[in-house]
């Protein structure tokens, strides 16, 4: 009986319209443009997390849909006003799209990454940084020690003999 009832086009249209209204968002529930949605770390680590904060998330259980270009990200609630999204293991600049409560926001995200590969003098053993983590190193070349500046790309020979047949690495003092 119900099947034949819906076969009538006019009645079917009226019935489906009623369903659409029932499933639609009430006007008061749409996220207004006046409520900010912010990305806390628009420059982020690949394979890390993006953190997004808004008062719009407070007191609600639903989560926004977040895309990086065309990639849909997994979203997790962090606290009352913050959600996080899992970032892909890649780098570059991306367009961010966020959909929430019938509204859409956009921005840009940069995932830091590889900048280049160069080659420098042949070294042996472990170089010693001039300070912890410094890009300026004292390293052993094949017959002498060198001062290597990774940032500047410069190599300065030091008048200090070294051979890997004596000790593999230069020793700190």
């Amino acid at each position: 009986m119900a099947v034949s009832f819906l076969r009538t086009p006019a009645i079917r249209l009226v019935s489906l319209s009623g369903l659409l209204v029932a499933c639609g968002r009430l006007p008061g529930d749409v996220l207004p443009d006046s409520i900010d949605v912010s990305v806390l770390n628009p420059v982020a680590w690949p394979a890390g997390k993006l953190f997004i904060v808004s008062s719009a998330f407070r007191g609600r259980a639903d989560l926004p849909a977040i895309r990086l270009d065309t990639l849909q990200l997994a979203v997790t609630r962090v606290n009352d006003s913050t959600v996080s999204a899992d970032l892909p293991d890649t780098s570059g600049g991306f367009q961010l799209r966020l959909e929430y409560r019938g509204a859409e926001r956009s921005g840009s995200v940069t995932l830091v990454g590889f900048k280049g590969r160069t080659e420098t003098v042949a070294l042996t053993g472990w170089p010693i940084p001039t300070a912890p983590g410094s890009p300026i190193l004292i390293a052993a070349a094949e017959s002498n020690l060198v001062r290597l500046d990774l940032a500047a790309g410069s190599v300065k020979e030091l008048p200090i003999a070294h051979t890997a047949t004596c000790a593999i690495s230069p020793g700190p003092s």
């Binding site: 628009p42 590969r117 042949a122 053993g125 410094s134 190193l137 004292i138 000790a167």
Partner: protein, 257 residues
Amino acid sequence: MPRAWRFSPTVLVTDSAPYLTGPADRMWAQLAPGTWLGTAHHQITIFKDGQVTLRDQLEEGERAVFSPDRSLAVVLTTIAAYHVPVLLTAPGTIAFRLPLLSAEAAAFTPDVDTLFAAGYNAFTPGVLSRLVAVDAATGAVLVQVDSLSRQLWDMVLDPDAPWLYGVEVATQPVVAVFDRHTLQSLGRIRPPATANCALLLCGQVGLAIDRVTRSAYAFDVKGWGASFDGTPTAVFRFDLVPASQAPEILSPISSSK
């Protein structure tokens, strides 16, 4: 007769004192005035004023990492059967041992309150690498993570942000980023598939950062033990996330749904 090289950027090499006659084919280091460290294939030996103060089984000790105040040192090793010792440099004795049977990466905080190290705590199949933070005064474990899928070969603390960087290697170096306080992973930076270590085999890969340009450098030293003499050292450069950044307010583009 082995010789000890003593150097700094402004001091020329001087030969070792005559008492340094033990085998040391890996490294000599001066721990403190009168205290010397020699590392050989299977052990380390410390000499204090001409006397041996310590011998410990420790394989392939090719690097020593000092605390910024030079009071402590860790000799990085592939295997330390009695767990990796942390050395008091002045007396040449052991301060404490790390909960690690190997350590290929270590870093001290600038105020020497914490020591970070990574290595294995067992050598059985399937065991993952351990990253640990210990109290540098007592050796008490502060945080420990046993889930690193790859060994870290060097590590550097960010001087401007609470991040710890480590470098993993296979055919290319990958920079892993950790929260310094929790040791949880924050992300990783990898080169494209076409940028590999020379000979498609990473050697001894070190890590450095430039705090001014916010760059990280991983460098692949291939000529250890004169095995690959003449192979250029590959240097991989990566951008780092700024130490601080302003939030970005997203722009509304539609409210029609």
